[in-house]
Structure formats: structure tokens, C-alpha cells
Amino acid sequence: MSRFFRSKRQNPQENSTTIKLYPSLQQNITHFKQTVGESTDIVIRTFKAGQTGSMDIAVLYTSGLVNNELVHDFILDTLMSEIRKTPLDAPAHKSKRYKTKHIEENGNKAYQLIKDYAMTGGNVTDIDTMEKLFLHVLSGDTVVMLDGSIQAMAIDTRGWESRGVEEPSTQSVVRGPKEGFTETLRTNTALLRRRIKDPNLWIRSKPIGSKSKTDVAVVYLHGVADEKVVKEVYHRLNKINIDAILDSGYVEELIQDETYTPFPTVYNSERPDTIAAGILEGRIAIVVDGSPFVLLVPALFVQFFQSAEDYFQRADFSTLIRLIRYMAFFLALLTPSVYIALTTYHQEMIPTSFLVSLSAQREGVPFPAFVEALLMEITFEILREAGVRLPKAVGSAISIVGALVLGQAAVEAGIVSSAMVIVVSLTAISSFVSPSFNFAISIRMLRFGFMSLAATLGLFGILFGLIILTLHLASLRSFGVPYLSPMAPFIGADQKDAILRFPRWKLTTRPRLINQSNMDREDAKAPKPEKRKRLNQRKEQE
């Protein structure tokens, strides 16, 4: 474990209640049973081994969390049959008194013997305190304890039922890898390791949460990631003092720079390729056990407009798509408010024929445009929320009700104008474009603010909102990196992969503010396939 994790602050309880393992096996088992309240899922198998069969051995594991085959084939089998005849215990000719006297010495010797020569498990850890014993048993390791030994060994036999690697349900792509993270930390780190087979990919983990003991792993490319940011991440993780972490969302909320902002300053993704790409740029990934969403810091504004697919498709096409995403962002944010502002304050800015047709639609609508828009937007938000929570089979019914009954009927009843329905649907569709769901949420929230500003001060109100919003965005930082970079502060070199996406061979540098030491990626040359003529020439020469 990293030395960063060893700071005094984080484990106050552990320090105060540390209990060493007793030399006596019986005592240990009694203590263990008392503490877990004789929970039925914990298996404690005791048996005797050694030449005389006088050595007491206990095997502890939590059923369901371990791979049963591993436990049976490699641990129980080894201990109970193969080393049966090894002189683990004190020699038979020694007296009972001798045995009692030398039980500790004997036990430790036997422990070392088993660990060094007999244990066939891969990942074996020494345990010397009760706390570690609980941690290991409860996280799926199998613990072997010997009578007389003050140590116990924990063998990694984790193997619970888990979801396999499936296609991620969010951030789906047309072209690109279809693997997604799962709820298991090891699977997730393996997915990353499989993509970056570099010794400098450092993965360090520690349990966080006094009750949940959730494993949280920090993954980064040593030498590429900014050391200061890495330290900052460790520091913030160490400061977390919480009872349980049930999803990476907990971690995100506890380590983000600014709580009072509608914008996410921590990126999350279900896609190993996205996270791996981020790590390669020098960002730091935080993998939380039990959550398929891996966090990535520092997160910048532009990142939320980038999709993994941008890098798998042609550069020109990706640039166009990105521009469309920015457009959709503004449409989703501003369409209703601009509609309100134009129709209630600045009719002179609408072309005459359009104004006449808008005006005709509004004849007989009883509400002001603002109330009309609010009504429709809220209805839409309710529909959306209902659609997410409803069982899939009913979902389609809701969309029919929403689209047809509410939209059509409301227009026909003269409650809203049909232009408003168009505005709201445009807004809705645009808000789905953002590749990042949590960013879309912030747009949804801000939209209402902009609508009321537009209703009060028209275009001026919208501008007021936009200026305040920009000021706010400019003041945000994600782990020390200005949120709006590379636009503000403007960094010319990083523009290649911000709003635009340059061809791959142009993207030779890493983002400047993310990592300041190791800027250059491998120098990629522009592809220049040899001309047919030259190929022919070469053939002739040969």
C-alpha cells in the first residue's frame, strides 16, 4: 500500500482498537465468532494435521464471496491430504508439557513451512491483527490459521457471482470497443491493464468507508500524470471519512473541487477505452469497487462534448459532430428562453411573416409565453423521469401518451401554441445529444433559470445569465486545472483536440495543463502511402 495511505488521520478507529491475533487458535475463533455474531455465511472449518494429528488448523471464508473450487482444490485439499504427513506439529516423542511450552515456536515454524512450501494459492498475505482478519475474510479471501501462530495467511480466493463484461448501457458508440466496466474492481483494472501494458501504469488501492471497506483504486501513468495532481487525488481520498461507499458517485461528490456548481468537475465513464485514453493523456482514473462508472480527473468543460467515438471515426466527421454537439448544447440551454425573449420583448427581431404566423398560433392561448413554456418543460421533465423509472414494457406507452396525447391535445385545446411544442421538443432532443449524462442534467437545471431571466429582462436577461454563467465557469477548477481550458486560458496547441478534432497524426502532444512534464506523445508521422509508380519502380529494380 502506498505511503500516502498511511497518514495518521485516516484510520482513527483502527488504531484505537487494534487487537493482535492470539497465539491460541481457539481464542481467535471465539473472538471471531463473537464479533460476526455467528453469521451463517461465514464458514469456519477446523481440522487437525501433522504427523500426530495434533496441529489445529482453521480455515475461514465467507461462502458466496469465494470461489468454492479454489478453496476446495487448493486450500482444503492441500492442507488436509497432501501435507497430512508433514511434521507440522511437535515431534510425537516430545512430552505434552514440551508441546504446550513450545507451542508458539512450533506454530510459527509450521506457518512458515506451509506458506513457503505448501500453499498453492497465488496471492498470499500475512495477517497479524483481528481487523485485517475481518477485512480479508469479509472481502472474499480465505484465511488459514494455525494454532500457536501469531500470524494467519489470507489467500486470494475471491470469486463471487458477478456480471460479466457487457456492452455499456451509457455512452454507446456505433464504431469502437463494446466492452464496459463491471461492478468488480479487479475486472475493471484488468480492462485498463489490458489496454495499457506499460510498467508505468500504476494501480494503487485502499479500502475506504469505515463500514463498507470499499476498495478504491487510483490508476495513472507514472511519469505522465502530473505528480501534483496525483498527490492531490491521494490527499482528497485520504480525507474521506464516511461509513460506506456504494458507488463512485459518493467518491465524486467527496473529492470534487466545488460543490455549489451545476457542472460536473469529475468525469465518469463506463467505457474502458475512454478511461484508458484519459490515462494516456495524463489524467488519473479512480476505480471504485461495486460501480461500473470509473472517475477521471482533472475533467474539463470540453471533455463533456467528446465521445470515445470521435477518435474512431474520421477526423473531419468527428469535428462536424463535435460542432453539432456544441450547437445542441446551446439549443438545449437557450431555445425556450430565446423564444420567450423574442416573442414577449423583441418582436421587432422576428421577420414579419414569421411573426404573423406565431401571432396567429398564439391567438386564444390563455397563458403568457413564459408560463406556457414552463408548463411544457415541466411536463416534459416529468415524462422523461417517468420514462427512466418505468419498466421497459410500459416505457413505450408513456412516450405515446407524452408525445401524442399531451402535445397534440394541448395544442388543439388551445392551452399551448404549436410553436411552443416545437420549441420544447427541440430542446428535449438537443439535450440528449450530450455524450455525458451528468452534463445534460446541468443543462436541464440551468434552462429554467434562463427562462425566468428571459421572462423578466428579455435578451438582456439571457445575456446577464450567460455572462454570470461564463464567469462561474471561468472560476471553476478541476484539481487545479482551469475548467474552461484550453479556451480560457487559451492554449493554441490544445485546440487540436478541443472543439475540433485534428487528424490523429497531428495529435502529438498531450494537453498542456493536464501534464506539464511529459508533453510529447510518440511522434506520429502523417501517413503517406507509397505511390503506385514508386512501387513499380522498386519492383523493376529488384
Binding site: 421577420p351 435578451l459 454570470i468
Partner: protein, 367 residues
């Protein structure tokens, strides 16, 4: 001065936006009729000289803002008084510009909305920006810079595509000789907007590479001067000098005439949006300069920033309300009284005096 730093590019952006600020609304004087565009060019040259004077002055104490440099130069007795004058000057300019823009909003898009409400909204933006600090202001300006340049280009493109400009309106050149040109150049246009650059002397200490301040400023003045000249020529060519004189906001009038095939028409928002952004930047810079001055002069810690900003903001609202309510009077004072009795002393005489004092003191020290 804290750890806030702005880059050379950010300074450039701030200068350009600042210069275009109220010039876009009121700075176009068409007193020199069809030769008004020359006025801007000549003022730009004068502005460059003034700016060189400012940077020269700042060379004596590069790490201090103007107000503190004054105290160093003129000593602890006169210094604080002069510094306080400058703080009041910046504050007054902030409220003048605020008054201009509030009036602009009232005559263009918010006709029934009370003056005070628009002032309050503007002040709110300015206060938020000032609390967040210069770094954030600079970044915000950097975000808006492309937008402003884009709308400027769009404006010119539309006007010329529609074939509105008639360059015969610019003839005859020098109809009444040079006299009207130079009488507008000095003191009016040279001090406003170019001489107002003195406010940047408050921000020089924040520059990362402070040796660049001269180049960046000169470049900024030239770029903004050229943009202003282009706009001025376009307006003159479209409206004619007489037409440009009588309309309240020539720029807005020009864009409202654009109608290309009934597709591109009613492009007023382009101008109005740009104006609000530019106004915001300009007011914020003046206001923030006054705030920095207050902090330096009275040694108020950075943590008290919000208190200072909010109280100054309230004062700003009140003063703007008092001076800006009468639009015509406001404009007249702005064009006739202020340049002679306020701008010239504050932008030319005092800096010259300071340079002299600093130079003499330097000589004495060396001997």
C-alpha cells in the same frame, strides 16, 4: 498581490474589448463629418503615445499598480491623495460607462424597464466578476473575444454583401480642412477611448511576462484602432455623415438596414449582444481597478474583497442613477466637460508630472 496572474494574450484581449467598449456605442463622433474615420486613426496614434507614457511610468515600479506607484513616487503625504483621486476617477468612469449602457438598453430593447433595474442588473454582473478576481475576468473576456470578433466580422460581411455602403458618402475628403479633425482628436477621441487605457496601469503587476506589456498594449491599440476605423468607415458609407449624426446608435441603425433576400434580416441581436458584452467588460475593468486601488491604499486584506465590492457596487448604483438619468445631459457632459477638465489632467498632465518626479528622484538618488 496574491497569486492571480494573467497572460500576455489575455491582456491583449482585455485591451481590445475595452477599447471597443463604449466606442462602439458612443465613441463614434461624427463631428468631423465624412472625415470622422480619420479622427479615429489619428487618435489611435495619439493613444499610442499616451500608452508609451503609461508604460514608461510603470517602468519605475513594475510590480506595483498605479495607485501604489504614485504613493512611492510622490511620497506619503501627497501620494495617497493623488492615488485616491485616481480611484475616484476610475470609479466615476465605471459609473459613466454604466450610465451609457443603461441608457442604451433603455432606448433599444427595454423601453419600459426602469433605469435603476438595468443598472442593478449590470452592477450585479460587475460585482460577481470583481469578487471572482482578475484571472476570472480575463478568462471570461477570452471566452467572449471570439464571439465579439465573429459578430464584428458577420456585421461587416452582411453590410457589404447587401451592398449598403456607398463610398461616395466619404467624399469629399477634408471638406473643411484639418481643423475639425484635430479639434475632435484632441481632447475628445484621444482621451476616450484611447486615453482611458490608463486603467490598465492597475493591472500590469498581474501580467506573467510583464516585459511584454509594451508590445501587447501597442498591438492591442493598433488592432482595436483598425477595427474601429473599419466600422466607422462602414457606418459613414451606409448612413452618410448627416445620417450618422442624427441617429442615436449608428451601429445598430446600420445593421438594422441589412436585408439580404429576406433571409438575412433583422440582425440587431448581433449588435446588441456584442454591446452588452463589451459594456460589461469595460465597466468591470474600471470598477475592478478602483477596487484594487482601494485594497492597496487602505491595506484591506483580500478576504474582505466581497465586502468592499458589494459596498462599492451599491455606491455605483446610486451614483450612476444620479448622473445618468438625464440622457442628453449625460452625453453632453461626457463629450464637452469631461475631456477637458477630467480626462486631460488625469490621463496626460498627472502621468507626465509623475514621470518627471520619478525621473528627478532617480537622478537625486544616483548622484
Amino acid at each position: 498581490m496574491g497569486t492571480e496572474k494573467i497572460s500576455a494574450f489575455q491582456l491583449f484581449v482585455l485591451i481590445v474589448l475595452f477599447e471597443m467598449g463604449s466606442a462602439v456605442v458612443l465613441g463614434f463622433t461624427f463631428k468631423a463629418n465624412q472625415d470622422s474615420w480619420m479622427v479615429i486613426l489619428f487618435s489611435m496614434i495619439g493613444g499610442l503615445l499616451l500608452y508609451l507614457l503609461f508604460t514608461h511610468l510603470s517602468n519605475y515600479y513594475p510590480a506595483l499598480p498605479l495607485t501604489e506607484a504614485i504613493v512611492k513616487i510622490t511620497g506619503p503625504f501627497i501620494g495617497p491623495i493623488l492615488a485616491f483621486f485616481y480611484i475616484i476617477y476610475f470609479f466615476y468612469l465605471a459609473s459613466r460607462v454604466l450610465g451609457d449602457f443603461t441608457n442604451l438598453m433603455q432606448i433599444t430593447i427595454l423601453r419600459q424597464t426602469p433605469f435603476i433595474v438595468i443598472t442593478i442588473v449590470f452592477t450585479l454582473m460587475v460585482c460577481v466578476a470583481s469578487i471572482l478576481g482578475l484571472e476570472v475576468i480575463a478568462r471570461t473576456a477570452e471566452m467572449f473575444y471570439p464571439l465579439v470578433i465573429f459578430s464584428g466580422t458577420l456585421f461587416l460581411a452582411f453590410v457589404y454583401l447587401d451592398g449598403l455602403p456607398d463610398f461616395r458618402n466619404l467624399l469629399p475628403v477634408l471638406d473643411k480642412g484639418w481643423e475639425p479633425i484635430f479639434s475632435t482628436v484632441f481632447p475628445q477621441t484621444i482621451t476616450f477611448p484611447f486615453g482611458e487605457m490608463i486603467v490598465f496601469m492597475m493591472f500590469f503587476p498581474y501580467l506573467i511576462s510583464s516585459y511584454k506589456r509594451k508590445q501587447v498594449g501597442v498591438l492591442g491599440i493598433i488592432v482595436s484602432g483598425i477595427i474601429l476605423t473599419l466600422l466607422s468607415i462602414t457606418i459613414l458609407a451606409v448612413l452618410g455623415s448627416e445620417g450618422a449624426k442624427i441617429v442615436a446608435i449608428p451601429l445598430l441603425e446600420t445593421i438594422s438596414l441589412v436585408n439580404i433576400q429576406d433571409i438575412i434580416q433583422r440582425m440587431d441581436p448581433i449588435v446588441i449582444i456584442t454591446m452588452i458584452i463589451l459594456g460589461f467588460i469595460k465597466i468591470t475593468l474600471f470598477f475592478y481597478a478602483a477596487i484594487i486601488g482601494l485594497h492597496g491604499l487602505f491595506q484591506i486584506p483580500r478576504s474582505k474583497r466581497p465586502v468592499v465590492v458589494i459596498s462599492a457596487g451599491l455606491l455605483l448604483i446610486i451614483i450612476t442613477f444620479l448622473i445618468g438619468l438625464e440622457y442628453t445631459e449625460h452625453v453632453n457632459i461626457g463629450l464637452q466637460v469631461i475631456p477637458y477638465y477630467v480626462h486631460v489632467p488625469m490621463q496626460l498632465i498627472l502621468p507626465l508630472f509623475l514621470v518627471c518626479v520619478a525621473w528627478i528622484r532617480g537622478r537625486i538618488k544616483w548622484n
